[in-house]
């Protein structure tokens, strides 16, 4: 038991150094999905042309298959796809493949959250925007987007937390984040004390999650100031 707790503190210190890596794999897909999610949302709420059907199949695929399968597909499929154009990407870091897969997956989920947010906006708001002479894009950026984001916020929070926890899966293709490093330490110790190493990783993930939760509650309390009291 004593050696176990020693192993725990040792691996906690070691794994804490990999928190920035996990944060990187969390923040990059968040930023990309914000843009890609809005593009998908706009395409899917527009006219039913070819683009609409392509986007729908894209969203359906990435929502309907497990993230793990998508990571494997990117990891093994993209090098073959790029090979067609004579580009060799086999030397790319595994993290890049993870980020590509996760961006596609996460923006599909985020686009659905945005879409339900857009649907919940009072149509009068958009009319009001046009009536004071906003162009279509001005109306989108100043009227639709902020309100849809606010409505989608609780949904987004859950998705972001899922994304953060999903980064732990990246170790299966050899990404060295918190979980990847924990797996390496487990392999070093050959069948001894895995529980303690995993508990250290679990605590780190939990603390990052608490941080994300705090950020979101700050955003929502900031938004609350501008909300009119319900009539």
């Amino acid at each position: 038991m004593f050696r176990g707790s020693e192993l725990f503190t040792e691996s906690l210190a070691e794994l804490a150094g990999y928190v920035p890596v996990t944060l990187f794999y969390f923040l990059v897909p968040t930023a990309v999905s914000f843009v890609l999610g809005w593009i998908l949302c706009l395409i899917r709420s527009g006219k039913k042309n070819v683009l609409y059907y392509i986007a729908s199949v894209f969203v359906s695929f990435f929502r309907g298959t497990p993230g793990l399968v998508q990571i494997y597909l990117c990891f093994f499929g993209l090098p073959q796809l790029f090979d067609l154009f004579g580009v060799d990407i086999n030397s790319w870091d595994a993290g890049i493949f993870y980020i590509i897969a996760t961006c596609c997956n996460f923006s599909s989920f985020v686009s659905e959250a945005f879409r339900s947010g857009c649907k919940a906006i009072d149509p009068g708001q958009i009319d009001a925007g046009y009536s004071i002479g906003y162009s279509r894009s001005q109306c989108f950026f100043h009227v639709i987007m902020p309100q849809a984001m606010e409505i989608a916020l609780p949904n987004l929070k859950n998705l972001e937390i899922d994304l953060l926890k999903g980064t732990a899966v990246a170790y299966v293709i050899g990404v060295t984040d918190i979980m990847g490093r924990a797996n390496q330490i487990i392999n070093h110790h050959k069948g001894y004390g895995q529980i303690w190493i995993l508990l250290a990783a679990a605590i780190l993930y939990f603390l990052i999650n608490v941080l994300v939760e705090i950020v979101f509650s700050l955003i929502s309390s900031h938004n609350k100031k501008y909300r009119r009291a319900a009539a």
Partner: protein
């Protein structure tokens, strides 16, 4: 892309043969998770002193930790517990013959049980208190009220959530391939071991997951519509439709 199409066709039945195990893993974990959620929700609703606080802390921790970590914790931890129980009540621990399927079930059940505890509580509070008063007024006992009046209504309220969690769980079972469970994804990988057609195997797995997801989602939606069709209260969808019309 030069995919091995002949192999892909041949591989489909092989990968499909693992589908029953994946579905069993999903259904058993879901049933266990519902049971756990019911028990934990009851403890929290009854405000049992120490137990309900312990449940809150435990659930918060589970929700903050990745599922992979929990699966691995069960994978490494449960054998230790079983080992210490060796010889207890005639149980013998056999390290060579462990049920990784059961370990994965435990991890999934606790993870989804934690999420569904909140669902149980909100759906219990969603049932009109007048319903249990009415049941008491016609002389039903406490347990009759619960099983005949409250729980059926709770199920109707919670069904959209339950079907969401079911879909999530179905997709999450692919993670069990990491902990030695031979479900769809690991069978897809193993079936390609002869000719290194790994991508083809994963493509088939992805296709099967996608199709099953769409079919199950349709089924659950129609079940949901059937159950809410005779509901006298206006559903959320109906209310929003009215708003749009007016």
């Amino acid at each position: 892309m030069n995919l091995n199409y002949a192999f892909m066709l041949k591989d489909i039945p092989v990968v499909l043969s693992a589908l029953p195990l994946t579905l069993a893993l999903t259904v058993i974990s879901m049933a266990l998770a519902l049971l756990l959620a019911g028990l934990m929700g009851a403890c929290r609703l009854k405000r049992i002193p120490v137990l309900s606080q312990v449940i809150v802390v435990f659930n918060t921790f589970i929700k903050g930790v990745p599922l992979v970590v929990q699966l691995l914790l069960c994978y490494y931890g449960i054998p230790l517990i079983l080992k210490s129980m060796d010889g207890f009540l005639g149980y013998t621990f056999d390290p060579k013959n462990q049920s990784y399927f059961a370990f994965a079930c435990v991890a999934f059940a606790f993870n989804y049980g934690a999420y569904m505890t909140d669902m149980v509580i909100t759906s219990y509070e969603g049932v009109d208190p007048g319903q249990s008063e009415a049941a008491a007024s016609v002389g039903m006992t406490r347990s009759q009220t619960l099983t005949c009046i409250i729980i059926p209504q709770m199920i109707v309220i919670a069904l959209p959530n339950i079907s969401n969690y079911f879909m999530w769980l179905f997709k999450a079972t692919s993670l069990a391939s990491i902990v030695n469970v031979f479900e769809l994804l690991s069978v897809a990988r193993a079936s390609t071991a002869d000719n290194y057609a790994i991508l083809e195997g994963y493509l088939i797995a992805a296709g099967i997951y996608w199709i099953i997801c769409i079919v199950v989602e349709r089924l659950l939606n129609s079940l949901n519509r059937k159950l809410t069709s005779h509901d006298r209260r206006p559903s959320v969808a109906a209310v929003t439709e009215k708003v749009q019309v007016s």
